[in-house]
């Protein structure tokens, strides 16, 4: 019994050692592609072409100057956060506003998540195909004007609920100073049948 355990352990050890070597070699080969993809993904988040061109070159150098394959990948992965913060830095949105917007959007997503799931299932059931589309940077439900549900969703603005995901991710910021005038206007609007 003892011999079986020793032989089994040795076989597993050899298998693991040979697989680890193969995996390490694969990782080394894939590092340039992976870092390139991560840098490009970060650069795409920047707001202007000039800045994208500059930071692309600068970040390629930043990553290439890092020793080790794992170090390069980790550094390239961190550039996503750098790009988000640089974009925020160049906007007139403060970090506190941005974080507040993300927190509100996450809370709203939890609250309206079941409704969004229901609407997505209804859209699949009625029309099939992808239920989301992108309008600029923001996600929205893909609705058809021929469908009564689609018309209702557009009228009620429910088709724009998926954009909460963009707010929660921090792609865009929900600003109270922009929203309050709209809310005031909507709340002060009289119902159509109310006498003037």
């Amino acid at each position: 019994m003892g011999a079986v355990i020793v032989i089994g352990t040795a076989v597993v050890g050899i298998l693991l050692a040979s697989t680890a070597g193969q995996l390490a070699s694969e990782f080394r080969d894939w590092t340039p592609y992976l870092t390139e993809w991560l840098i490009n993904r970060a650069v795409r988040r920047l707001p202007t072409d000039d800045l994208r061109a500059r930071m692309s070159e600068e970040w390629h150098e930043f990553v290439s100057d890092t020793p080790g394959h794992i170090g390069k990948v980790l550094r390239a992965a961190g550039l996503g956060v750098a790009a988000k913060r640089v974009a925020l830095e160049l906007s007139d949105v403060s970090l506190s506003e941005h974080m507040c917007s993300r927190a509100l959007a996450m809370a709203a997503l939890i609250f309206v998540g079941p409704l969004m799931m229901f609407l997505a299932i209804m859209l699949i059931w009625r029309g099939g195909g992808p239920v989301l589309e992108k309008s600029g940077k923001l996600y929205r439900f893909r609705v058809s004007d021929d469908d009564p549900l689609g018309r209702l969703m557009v009228r009620s603005n429910f088709d724009e609920l998926p954009s909460l995901w963009n707010f929660a991710r921090g792609d865009t910021t929900f600003r109270l100073k922009d929203v309050i005038p709209t809310l005031v206007r909507l709340l002060s609007r009289k119902p159509p049948n109310q006498p003037q």
Binding site: R54, M55, E57, E58, W59, H60, E61, F62, S64, D65, T66, R75, G78, L79, V81, A82, K84, R85, V86, L88, E89, L90
Partner: protein, 102 residues
């Protein structure tokens, strides 16, 4: 004209690292190595300081194909940046422990 901006701890770390280079230029990776800051903190600071006129930057004049690496973006302290950094450090260290702050 340089702006007077709020200097946070991380910002001062970056400015001090570049100031300690005594007029030499530093790339982002060199500043990261000296300060230990991650790119997510470092690059917003470098860009903010450059926009505020405390730092200036230029591309390294090399041929990337010959060198086998991309050009470095080199950062250097401006006179206004040096003045603001000295003032901030003097506030933090009134005894003047930083030799370059004299």
């Amino acid at each position: 004209m340089a702006e007077n901006i709020r200097l946070t701890h991380a910002t001062l770390k970056v400015l001090c690292a570049i100031m300690a280079a005594r007029g030499s230029e530093m790339s982002g990776s060199q500043v990261a190595a000296d300060t230990g800051l991650a790119s997510g903190s470092l690059y917003p600071i470098l860009l903010r300081m450059e926009r505020a006129g405390l730092l200036k930057s230029r591309w390294e004049t090399i041929d990337p194909s010959k060198e086998g690496r991309p050009r470095r973006r080199l950062y250097k302290m401006t006179a206004a940046g040096a003045t603001q950094t000295r003032a901030a450090m003097a506030e933090l260290m009134p005894q003047g422990r930083a030799s370059w702050a004299q």
